[in-house]
């Protein structure tokens, strides 16, 4: 069911002595949704993931993953969740097949299921012919793909991917993002932790921005942009002439104008102002184009942390 909540957390908290790693976070993820987890190092992303997997106990609060409490039923949770840690490690002396057969057996798969799913998963991640090769001979990119193949073999209802593209080259990254979209198409909910904001923006439906153990911002990129950049609409305007910027800034509802090039301006607006901007510019300037621009997650992130720093 698309609207079914598969991950929910209420007041989830983790303390290490006096240090608060995760501070009363609330989170919900629906089936078939890709949710990005962003934030600086040490902001609580990985600790949250570990709590959701039942690998570390929360100090306070509760979570439900795939219908089970990770604290009380960690085995049931882990049966339904595929986890790809950052810089995934394998037993180098074993073949790709033996590595995945081991975790497959731990996951309770039969020998026949392992054989069948292993072949399918390797094909899906673009490594169809390496099953018998020792993992020691694999590049980092191949290891990440093999890690994703392990997740696929489990056929999970939830996939948690921690920095999956951190060590990949641009081409492999694009392929990997395609595979993540494939998980969504299967109806798998994906929790994606990453520092690559453009990648998160390109695949995620919603984003949770962590800061000092709290979820500081939560929602779609457009919603985040509305809160942080002060406008929910970003419009790119191409126009030729003097003082275009001043004219744009004078339109009621415009929050900010940036010059991206000699004839290109980005306008943050409170509402859809394309018609008003066109009316204002057309008499005096050569209006070459006007269109919505996707608000940049990178910009949201940078602006948010600039504001946090300024406030401090």
């Amino acid at each position: 069911m698309p609207d079914e909540i598969v991950i929910s957390a209420q007041g989830l908290t983790k303390r290490y002595g006096a240090t608060i790693a995760v501070d009363h976070i609330d989170l919900d993820v629906r089936a078939g949704e890709i949710v990005g987890i962003l934030g600086p190092n040490g902001s609580g992303k990985t600790t949250t993931i570990l709590m959701l997997l039942g690998l570390t106990e929360p100090t306070e609060g509760r979570a439900e993953v795939a219908g089970f409490d990770p604290l009380r039923d960690p085995l049931e949770v882990k049966r339904r969740v595929g986890y790809l840690p950052d810089s995934v490690g394998f037993y180098d002396g074993l073949s790709a097949r033996d590595n995945l057969a081991y975790t497959g057996r731990l996951a309770g798969l039969s020998r026949r299921e392992i054989d069948q799913r292993f072949t399918e998963a390797l094909e899906r991640v673009g490594l169809p012919d390496v099953g018998r090769d020792r993992v020691a001979t694999f590049s980092r990119g191949m290891r990440q793909r093999l890690g994703l193949a392990e997740v696929l073999m489990k056929r999970p209802s939830i996939a948690i991917l921690d920095e999956p593209t951190a060590t990949l080259d641009p081409h492999s990254t694009q392929e990997f993002l395609g595979m993540i979209r494939g998980l969504k198409a299967d109806g798998t909910a994906v929790l994606l932790s990453s520092h690559h904001l453009d990648q998160v923006q390109s695949v995620c439906d919603r984003v949770a921005l962590f800061n000092r153990g709290r979820i500081a911002l939560w929602g779609s990129v457009t919603e985040l942009a509305q809160r942080v950049l002060g406008g929910g609409y970003v419009i790119d305007v191409e126009a030729r002439g003097d003082a275009v910027r001043n004219q744009l800034a004078a339109v009621p509802g415009v929050v900010r104008v940036q010059a991206l090039g000699p004839e290109l301006y980005r306008v943050d607006c409170e509402r859809d102002l394309r018609a008003e901007i066109a009316r204002r510019l057309a008499p005096s300037f050569d209006l070459l184009g006007i269109r919505f621009a996707e608000p940049s997650l990178n910009e949201v992130y940078t602006r948010y942390f600039d504001e946090v720093r300024d406030a401090a």
Partner: protein, 317 residues
Amino acid sequence: MRRRGSPFTGVGVVLAKEAADYLSGARMWLLEALVFLTAIAAAYAAILSIRANIGESPFLFLRLLTMAQDPLPSFIALLGFLIPLVAIAIGFDAINGEFSRRTLSRVLAQPIYRDALLLGKFLAGLVALAIGLFSLWLLTIGLGLLLLGLAPNTQEMVRMLGFLVATIAYGGVWLAVAFLFSVVFRAPATAALAALGVWLLFSLFWSVVTPLVATLIAGPPEGILGPNLAYLQTAQTLDRISPNTLYAEIALALLQPATRALGPVLYSQVQGALLGAPLPVAQSFILVWPQITGLIAGMIVIFAIAYIVFQRQEIRA
């Protein structure tokens, strides 16, 4: 809050994988070769000596294990020295190796508890050790059969089997020590050094330390009226903290059937005894029962400490 599901889910899978890794690994092959060669050389040297004095003892097979022939020490002395090394080599990187390979979180993300991982790995180490020792045991008997031309009698077989079990328990203690350090230290080299340090302490220095401590606790070894019994008992108690001492006492009582006591014996206790006459097998086992249970208990206690430490660790690799 009580967790649901068995903590032993997946133990068998971990055991099978790890035992296969241990038994097929180059490290294990090298160590097994070292143990086999030295032990067989010691047994062979003992056989040559026994053949020259064939009528001296009814327990020729047991003498095969206990007789030293210059320049080689006895078979059991070599085992007592080398088994800890093999056990430490098996276990020093059991857990920290998973951290450094970054495989731990991947494995623990499968539906198993960390209890199963630790227990499965430990049992796999014990199985690998037992397979190696059992092979060596069979090889030694085979060598004795070939070169002595005699078969071991039932009493010898039972004693040798008991000794094999005790050797596995002795190896288990050192395996548990290695596991403990592999949990405590993240760097495998540090864990190996720490385990070797403990082994050196008990192998070389413990016999120097115990008389000093016993003297501090119970006074000098010699009193005005003769030997100080309190000193002897204290020194022996301290000595028995060392697994090496427990193992040596088991070997002595099981493989030298004439051994009637393992502690200080008063003159009144040996009145009427036929000195030099062998004890029945059951009596020898009763004599070393505390030592055998001591080794097994030591193994369990050290493993339990490793288990508790591991349970409290954060899994971030």
